[in-house]
Amino acid sequence: MSGVRRSLRVRMTASLVAVLILALGTLSVVVDQVVWRALVQQLDAQLADDASAVAGMAEDEGPTVDFEYESLPDFERSQRPAYFQAWLDDGQVLARSPSLQGRDLPRPAPPGAATRFFALTLPDGRPGRAAGLRQPLRIEESGPGAVRSSSRHVTVVVAQGTEKLRAALGSVRRWLALSVGLTMLAAALAVVASVSRGLRAARDVAARVAQIDASSPGPFLPTQHLPDELVPLVDKVNELLARIEASFARERRFTADVSHELRTPLAALRTMIEVALRKTRGPREYASAISEMGDVVGQMQGLCENLLALARLDAGAVPVRAQPVALRALVDECWRPFQALARERGLTFTNELDGDATVTTDREHLRIIVSNLLSNAASYTAGGGWIVVRSGASSLLQVDDSGPGIPADVLPHLFERFVRGDPARSAGVHCGIGLALARGLGDILRLALSAQNTQEGGVSFQVRAADASSPAS
């Protein structure tokens, strides 16, 4: 059930329509009221005019009141006529419009000073509106323009049907409803269309993402035709892809390097065995072949050990068992696997460490650190050179060699994983993890590893307690 997750299109359309209903509904009510009031006011003004015109027809002539009806067609037609009726204060009906045909209009209760307006049902049953007016009677003198008001009053009610108003209002309402409906429809369509267009970009991105596989994270997703809202997301995806690609590339290179470094000794083993078995040989020849195979196996074991240690380091599962370690003996033990290589390359090895020097640390980890430093020295020191292990002023031990020095561009990255000097320069089993592993294990043992080129053109690798002040490196 994915009832909570609704389509963005549906959600946006629904909320837009809701807002439009509220806004246009309010607007319609207001417009309806305003129009109705304006129409009523207009009608009232007309009714008031008619009322005062009718009132003006009455004249105080001494004892009698004369009503001089001047024909007004509104009050006479048979279809939907207007009505009027005039009373004197004593209730006597002074006049009726012809349209009343003797019927009565309601007389407003206490006639006030101002004209009063009220709704009523007309004598012919139509809904209507009326204006009620009470004013003093006119007294006509003989002199021209001399009009006086009498103390007696006439009350006039004029009434008209409101069907025209209602028709006008209805028409306004119909137009309103039509335009509101059209507006909502257009808005909903516009939302659906623009959201769909926006989402099409998202679908395109999804399609491109679907084409990406582990072996080739690129090409990256283009952002030039995307809606602004999607750009940050796609940018982040691109950054992620770039990171993944970099890490894939590192892994691939690492795998290739490891496989290269495993294949080379494996090839040697195979060829050695096949050559040895090609014909019957003397015991001396067999013994020398087997001993040489042993050396190769030792190198492969070293590589496997490094790979395992590195995996454990990455998994964070490296236990430390501290014990006193005799440094000199440890270095001798670590050097043993490299004796053959050093002999071949004409390297002289000297262990100058004090036989009594001990350090309390994890022996196995320290052995891997020292082995990798020695392996590095045995492989990269130029043929005919020397390697010396000694303790320095601030170092626990250091591995110095006769060079060549490490290129300046490699030196800062020397302890990073997969970094090695000119790959064509390596003479042993190296795939750029030995020094990285040594530093990783050093961190765990609180030992700082550093390397520097010496003034004599050689290289000095130093191992110090991590808190000791460090010489410039």
């Binding site: 290739a256 496989s259 290269h260 470094e261 294949r263 080379t264 000794p265 494996l266 090839a267 040697a268 083993l269 195979r270 060829t271 050695m272 096949e274 050559v275 090609r278 014909k279 040489e292 195979m293 050396d295 190769v296 290589l341 071949e344 790959p423 064509a424 320069r425 390596s426 003479a427």
Partner: protein
């Protein structure tokens, strides 16, 4: 046949050199690319066996320069890199064959035989020259149906003369193709081995009923002459 081996991993280089020598090749081995290039330029090797990742100058660079210098030596690349792109790069640069480590020594030997054969326009490992049959795969020689046991060096000498049959081959050429630097240089060593070879083949000796195959051209060298065979 003389082979240059450029491989920097010493245990492998030593074993390969031994295996190749025991298979009858004259082998010069070096762990250094620059030295390899110098050797390739100085000697007429029949084949170069090049590792790709060697110090100073990698195997593909050696190949490129050797080919640029016009050498037609057969080249077999051996490498631990097994990517298709690496193989293509090697073959495009003019390598005749490509082997991924680890490989079987027998396979390397077979491929070497094939690329060297091609160099001498031969199509099979078996050369039949009149009543003389030379099988370079099994390293067996028969004359008139009878096996002739030869030492590795004698076989190499006969094989080289046979591949260049009908041509006069100088002592220097023989020296270059049959001996490596491990051999003691001596002015008449070639003549001595030709003598051994003739004796073992019963070449023209009375009573054997055979014709003389290896002819001496005074002051020039030797040639292997087979009537009716080219």
């Amino acid at each position: 046949m003389r082979v240059l081996l450029v491989e920097d991993y010493q245990p492998l280089a030593r074993a390969l050199a031994q295996g190749l020598r025991e298979a009858g090749y004259a082998v010069d081995a070096t762990a250094d690319g620059r030295q390899g290039l110098a050797l390739a330029g100085a000697n007429g090797y029949d084949a170069l066996v090049l590792d790709v990742m060697v110090p100073e100058l990698d195997g593909l660079a050696i190949l490129r320069r050797v080919r640029a210098a016009g050498s037609s030596a057969a080249v077999v690349i051996i490498t631990a890199r097994d990517q298709v792109a690496d193989r293509i790069a090697g073959l495009d640069l003019g390598a005749d064959d490509y082997l991924v480590k680890p490989f079987a020594l027998d396979e390397l030997l077979a491929r070497l035989r094939a690329v060297i054969r091609r160099r001498y326009q031969a199509t099979t490992n078996v050369l039949a020259l009149g009543d003389l049959v030379i099988d370079s795969a099994s390293r067996a020689v028969k004359r008139a149906g009878k096996p002739v046991p030869l030492s590795a060096r004698e076989f190499a000498l006969l094989e080289y003369l046979a591949l260049r049959r009908g041509q006069i081959v100088t002592r220097t050429e023989i020296w270059e193709h049959v001996y490596d630097f491990a051999a003691e240089p001596s002015s008449n060593v070639v003549d001595v081995y030709v003598g051994y070879l003739r004796r073992k083949l019963g070449d023209g000796a009375p009573g054997t009923g055979t014709r003389r195959l290896i002819r001496t051209h005074r002051g020039l060298g030797y040639s292997l002459e087979i009537e009716g065979a080219k």
